[in-house]
Amino acid sequence: MPSSAGRLLLLLPTTTYRTEAFVEAATRLGVELVCASERPSTFEPLAPDALITLDFTDPAACAETVARFARRRPLDAVVPADDLTTVVAAAIAQRLGLRANSVPAVSTARDKHAMRRCLAGAGVPVPRFRLVSLGDDPALRAAETTYPCVLKPLALSASRGVIRANDAREFVAAFRRISAILDMKDVSLPGEARHALLVEEFIPGVEVALEGLLVAGTLHVLAIFDKPDPLAGPFFEETIYVTPSRLPEDTQACIAAVTREACSALGLAEGPVHAELRVNERGPFILEVAARSIGGLCSRTLTFGTGLSLEELILCHALGRPLESLERERRAAGVMMIPIPRAGRLAAVHGTDEAAAVEGIEEVAITMHPGQDVVPLPEGWQYLGFIFARAETPDAVEQALRSAHARLRFAIE
């Protein structure tokens, strides 16, 4: 029996950037939240009806724990904040009979090799790919490979461990580097993802991201972001996202159509999707379709209807509330994920006031704290912070972001 007020379980890994946005959205909507993390909150003993600890590496156990919780506090919806919790959310939803994607669909989307296989089998354009075991001799695998290629872990995010190789020597070096990343103590991956990597064709062209919402199997495109900085390797650090896209309308229509085919092939039917595509003269290629919303703080670029945030849309959809509008605001918007220039310890950030004063800049959010170790790609996965801009045109947004970034100075020791 669902609660009458609308009670929603939010799955929040302690490492997610998404907490503030989802908690704020729930507060604005008057949704009663139950928050689950993989490590306990200090308040859990005082607020056992509002806070739960779940082992996100064991979706079946999570579903049982939540089912016991829901017998005394019924839940109306479950929402994963990001990649780490999509499969857990599906398992819980299935156990409680809530509307959500199926476990097989999100499990396939979460595993880059399974996703490639599924999409290729359905005729959706993806790079040519193959699975390589980390137990293999990399020199032998390198000799079988066509170049340039891209090597990537099966389940890490934020371009962590994604490396381009132009020849056999670079292949072997990338193979060993990814193997070392998968051995890092903060990396916790399931099954095959610990022991294999994906080798795929490097697709030249521009890269875009599509943010969408699936409602009963229909994909609603919320935004297409251009990524104007070239992503040609050897690492693939994401920096600027700008929407609306400046690509021709028919190209954008193709991007949306290919993403719809991908969602359908994967069996994704409900909730947010974040897709990454490469586009060239052969058309769009799917690099990734994730059953989650955009990462980092990037959702701050998106506002819908009369001012709803992306997270408000996601919570409303999960609870079966009417969606007021899926139309993004008229103005152009963008974000720069501030890259880490080199490894070290962050001592100070200078120039934030000057950066914030640039015309069009709405916010400069430094998310790393003084004294924190900073690690660039491909081993790292964090950003120094985020710069947000709005303006009349995408070009003006991009210019504002670049101008603001040029005013920032990072002291890294």
Binding site: T14, T16, T42, P45, L46, S157, A158
Partner: protein
Amino acid sequence: MSEDLKTKVQELIDSMINPAVAGHGGFVELVDVQDNRVYLQMGGGCQGCGAADVTLKQGIERLIKEEIPEVAEVLDATDHSAGTNPYYTAGKA
């Protein structure tokens, strides 16, 4: 009225809230109470913590509203970007 509320909130911070957040090296200070809204600052492990919003809304605000029903809202006045030792650190996931 406001002074009375402040006293009640401060007592709750001292008796229940700070002992709870101390487990993660954090502490909470009362900044002000205006129009039944409580303004707090978080420090130590709570300042800049990736879970600070959960602690505030799911823990502190619930507890304060339960114990002091006249409180309408609890708001965070913390400069989280200045936190140097957050208990949980966000990374893109």
